[in-house]
Amino acid sequence: MRGQTNLFALVVALVLLTGATVVGVSLADAALAGADREPIERHAAAATADRLTAADSPVTTRANVLNASRVAALNASRLRELAPTAGAGDVRVALDDRTVVEWGAPGGGWTVRRSVVVRSRAEPRLIRANLSRRSTVTVPGGVDRATVTLDPGPNTTLRSVRANDRVVLHDGSGLNTTATVHLDRYEPTTLRVDAGANATGRVAVTYRPRIVDDRVLTVTVDA
């Protein structure tokens, strides 16, 4: 009789143990399913952001510095070429709140944010100078090229143009032209036209100042 009671206790103990195991495993399974953190979306978004901001990316001038005109030229097929992993689902690339490229309509998905600098060129600025009054024009720093138009008056020969005393244009028989000159972008440049004491004529310098903006690049991938 005592042995049978113990047998009964054993069966109850085994049943309880099995029940606890089943409950435990099913809880663990539910936890595993709930912990689905979309590694594919996450990886695709991070990889796309990395490719876009890399130093050798077609839209950057150097790492994390985007060139506004090249960003504007970005489209879905070029982005797909750049980051094939993004082709897995719906993708949106945005700068601040302005969408740059989008295909599909990513509803949720994973979003990666990167702080970037966007460089663009402002509208052209024009500086005119009358050579009988002054022969220098100053261009601010950060400008890497300017267009110089020389229009000498009668009895005037303009032989050379200097940028910070470096000769950039020269013709012994006289300049009467429009030419692009490259400037030192690290400092302001003074363009000087070599004109004699009684020189007449005009000089016009056109340049496009650089604008630098801080932006947040967001890449959303919804696979």
Partner: protein
């Protein structure tokens, strides 16, 4: 007898717990995304790019310095002045590289300079300049009554733990560097 049965239940419980341990370990690893988020550790590439930018800036500064202090056809003087600037930056780039755990070697490239001087020397309708003269990797040119520094050709080689990168740049006066040859790691 009853003690044995009790031990049987205990043993079964131990087996179940052991089976659950790998599941716990697997769960602990689920949140790991370190690979995707970690910044790329490309010291060789960064050093190469940093070195290129330092050289661009130096050559731009040297260009201003050279054109302020020279008369026509002073190629040797202009080249010597440029060499002082470029070699100082080269030494700085090399020591920065060492501090970051890569070996950097920056050397002027005379033959690349000669080739570039032959083919890409600035000239044109509004640029009635003299011929380019290459001298120890430095390209100079007579412009009006001055001698201008046009470009400097340099070899940069970066050796790191993950590989070696070699590049030959022609750093033009104020227009930045153009790569004329590059070997990826």
């Amino acid at each position: 007898m009853s003690r044995r049965r009790g031990q049987l239940v205990l043993l079964a419980a131990a087996v179940v717990v052991t089976a659950l341990v790998p599941m716990l370990l697997a769960y602990a690893q689920l949140g790991y995304v370190g690979d995707a988020a970690a910044p790329s550790d490309d010291r060789v590439g960064t050093t190469l790019v940093d070195g290129k930018r330092a050289l661009e800036r130096t050559v731009a500064e040297a260009t201003g310095a050279v054109s302020n202090g020279t008369a026509a056809d002073q190629h040797r003087k202009a080249a010597d002045l440029a060499v002082t600037w470029v070699d100082a930056t080269a030494a700085a780039v090399e020591s920065t590289g060492t501090a970051q755990g890569v070996t950097v070697d920056v050397a002027r490239n005379a033959s690349a300079a000669r080739r570039w001087a032959r083919v890409r020397c600035p000239r044109g309708p509004d640029r009635a300049f003299g011929a380019c003269v290459a001298n120890g990797g430095v390209i100079t040119q007579t412009r009006a009554d001055t001698t201008a520094l046009v470009a400097v050709a340099v070899d940069v080689s970066v050796r790191g733990p993950d590989g070696t990168a070699r590049a030959t740049f022609v750093v033009r006066g104020v227009r930045g560097a153009v790569s004329v040859g590059r070997t990826e790691p």
